[in-house]
Amino acid sequence: MRKFALLIAMISVVVLAKLVVIGPWSGAEQEKFMPVLKAFEEKYGIKVEYRAYRSEDLSKILPAQLNAKRAPGDVIFMWAWFIQDQAKKGNVVDLTGIINEEDYVPGALDAVKVGNKIYGIAYTGKVKPGFWYRKSFFEKHGLKVPRTWYEFKALLENIKHIPGIKAPIASGDGVGWPLSDVTEHFLITFGGPYVQKDLIEGNLKWESNTVRYAMGKLVELLKKGYFGEPTEWTMALKQWWNGDYALYFMGSWITGMVDDPKDLGVFTLPGAKGVVFGIDYAFIPKYSKHIEEAKKLIKFLATEGQIIQVKQGGHMATYKNVSLNDYPPVDREVAKLLRGMKALPDLDDSVGGIFQKTFWDQLKLLWVDPDRLDEVLKVLDEKMEE
C-alpha cells in the first residue's frame, strides 16, 4: 500500500512538474519559439506548455492574479516596467546569481533590476531598424536608398507617383504600436538618442522645442500624404509586400513574416544615430508551484535558448556569447546596419501604463489629422504626469 502511495506521489510530481510558459508570440513567431522549448524539454526532461497571451491583455489580468497569490504560468514574458513594478510588490522571484550580468549587452538588465537584485532575464530582442523595402520593387522602379533627409523626401515623392501605389509608406495599426515605433524613430533621428531616454525618465516635456521639432518632421510627411491610412498591421504587411506601398517601418521580426526574406532591404532615416532595441523580458512569479524547475528554464532561455532562437531569424541576442555566425544572412544585414548606432529602449514599453495606451491612441489621431499636433503633445504631457 505504501509502495502504491509512493508511486502515485512520484507520478503526481512528474505530472505536476509541467512548466507553463506564457509569451506574446503566436502564429509564425510562435513556431520559431517552439524549438527553444523543445530543446529544453530534451535536455532536462521537463515538459513545457506554451500559452500565447498579448502583453496588453496580460497586463490587465496578471496584477489581480498576483495580488491573489496565484500564477497563471511558471515563466512569463512581460514588459520590463511591469516586472520591475511587480518585483517591488514582492511578487517576483529573485534571479540574482542565476545569470551573470556581464554576459549581456550593457544595460540590458537595468530595466528589470531593483537595487542590485535582478528580477527578470533579458531574452532576445527585436531591433526596429527603419524602413523596409523590397529590393525587387526598388530595382523595378529605379529607386535608390536615400542618404539625406532631402533624398528621403524626394524618394517619397517619386514613389507617390508610381501607378497603383496607395501611399509611399504603409501605416501599421492595431493596438497602435507600429505607429509609435515609427514616431520613436523620428524622435531619435531629429532629437538625438538622448531624447528617447529623457522622455522615458520624464526629464523632457512633450511640448518642448526638441520634441516639437522632431515631431514636426513627421507631421510634414503626414500632411503630404506620404503615410497611408492606419491599417491593421498584418494586413498592411501583405499590402506592402504586394506593392500597394513601397516602404514599411517595422521591427526585425518582419524577416520571419515574408515569403522571400532575401528580397528585403532596410534603411534608417538619414542621420539616425540610435535605434530601438526592444528586448523581451521574462520572470518567474513568486507563486509558481515549480520554482526550481522554472529557474532551470529561465536560465536556459537566457543563455543557450538565445542561440536557438536567433537561428530561427528575426531575433537579436542580448547574450554576448551568441556568435554572428548563428544569425541567418538577412539578420546579419540588420546587425551591420546597427554598427555605430546607440541601442535604445522602447519608449512606450518602458513607460507603460495609461501613457502607453494614450500614446498609441493619440498617434492614431495625429496620423489622420496632423494639424492637431499641439493637442496631441499636450495630452501626452498630461498623461505622462499621471
Partner: protein, 292 residues
C-alpha cells in the same frame, strides 16, 4: 401559525436573498464606498473631482472647437440621442411591414442575427464594414463618388460609425418585441377602423402606436440601458479612439481600473453609470407597476 409562515418565507427566500446580497448589494455598496476613499483608505471627494474635471469625461476644448473628442459623457449622450430613436423606430417599422409580407419571418430572422451575434464579433464586423479596403460601406459610397476611407479611423466619423453599426446590431431586439406586441392587438380593432373609413396610416397612429405603448417603454428602456453600458463593440472596433474620439463611459471605467489600476476613479464612473441606469429604469418599473 405565524412562525411557520415566517419559516416557510425564509426557507424559500433566503437562497435568493443571499445571492442578491452577495452578487448585487455587497458589490454595489463596496463600489460606492470605494469611490469615496483614496489608496491610503482616507475619505475623499478627490476621485469625483478628478473624474468630473478630466478631459476624458468632458473635453471643454473639444466642445469649444466643435471637434471630437467631446468627452465620454457627451459621447454616451450622442449615442443615446441617435441610437435610441433609430432602433426603436426601425424596430417598429420593420415589425409592421414584415408582419404580412411573404417571407417576412425569414427576413426577421436575418435581422435578428445581429442580436444573436456576440458583440465582440459585432465589433470586428463593424471594423470591416467601415474599412477602406474591404468595407461594404465604402463599396456602396463609391457609387456616389465618395473617396474610400476607414470611417472608424477618423475622429469626426468614428463615433457615428460605431453608432450606426450598433443600430444594425440592435434593431432586431425592438423588431422582435414589437412583432410579439402586434400579435396581441385584436384584429377587430382594425376591422372596425376600416369600416369607419380609417386608412392604414390612421390605423397605425391611432391603434398600433397607442396599443404598443407598454412595448415601446420596454424597448426604449432596454435600449437606453444598452447604450449606457456600451463597451464591447467600442473596445474591439476602436478602443475608444482615435484620440478618444469614440470613447464611452464603460471604456473609461475599464481604463481606470485595468490600465491605470486606479480603482477609486473606476468606482466613480461605475457610480455615475449606476445613477444614470437607475434614472433610465424608472419608466420601466412604473409601467410594470401600472400593468400589475
Amino acid at each position: 401559525m405565524r412562525k411557520s409562515r415566517l419559516l416557510h418565507f425564509l426557507v424559500f427566500m433566503l437562497p435568493a436573498l443571499a445571492l442578491v446580497f452577495v452578487f448585487v448589494i455587497y458589490p454595489s455598496a463596496r463600489t460606492i464606498i470605494l469611490s469615496f476613499f483614496d489608496e491610503e483608505g482616507h475619505f475623499t471627494l478627490q476621485n469625483y473631482k478628478k473624474v468630473l474635471s478630466s478631459r476624458d469625461t468632458i473635453n471643454i476644448d473639444g466642445i469649444a472647437r466643435g471637434e471630437f473628442p467631446l468627452g465620454t459623457l457627451l459621447h454616451n449622450a450622442i449615442w443615446i440621442a441617435i441610437h435610441l430613436p433609430f432602433t426603436t423606430f426601425l424596430g417598429l417599422i420593420l415589425a409592421v411591414l414584415l408582419r404580412r409580407t411573404r417571407g417576412g419571418n425569414v427576413l426577421k430572422s436575418f435581422i435578428f442575427f445581429g442580436m444573436v451575434m456576440p458583440m465582440i464579433v459585432g465589433g470586428v464586423m463593424i471594423n470591416f464594414l467601415f474599412d477602406a479596403n474591404v468595407g461594404i460601406v465604402n463599396a456602396l459610397l463609391k457609387f456616389f463618388g465618395v473617396h474610400p476611407r476607414t470611417w472608424t479611423a477618423h475622429p469626426e466619423t468614428a463615433l457615428f460609425s460605431l453608432i450606426l453599426g450598433s443600430v444594425w446590431l440592435w434593431t432586431g431586439f425592438g423588431m422582435t418585441l414589437y412583432s410579439a406586441g402586434l400579435e396581441t392587438i385584436p384584429k377587430d380593432f382594425y376591422e372596425a377602423a376600416s369600416l369607419d373609413g380609417a386608412g392604414p396610416i390612421t390605423q397605425f397612429f391611432k391603434i398600433t402606436i397607442p396599443l404598443l405603448k407598454p412595448i415601446t417603454v420596454v424597448v426604449m428602456t432596454m435600449t437606453l440601458l444598452w447604450d449606457l453600458k456600451i463597451f464591447d463593440i467600442v473596445y474591439v472596433a476602436t478602443q475608444g479612439g482615435p484620440g478618444g474620439a469614440s470613447n464611452v463611459l464603460a471604456i473609461q471605467m475599464y481604463n481606470y481600473a485595468f490600465v491605470e489600476f486606479d480603482y477609486g476613479k473606476a468606482a466613480v464612473v461605475a457610480v455615475l453609470l449606476t445613477i444614470f441606469t437607475m434614472i433610465a429604469a424608472i419608466p420601466l418599473i412604473r409601467t410594470v407597476g401600472e400593468e400589475s
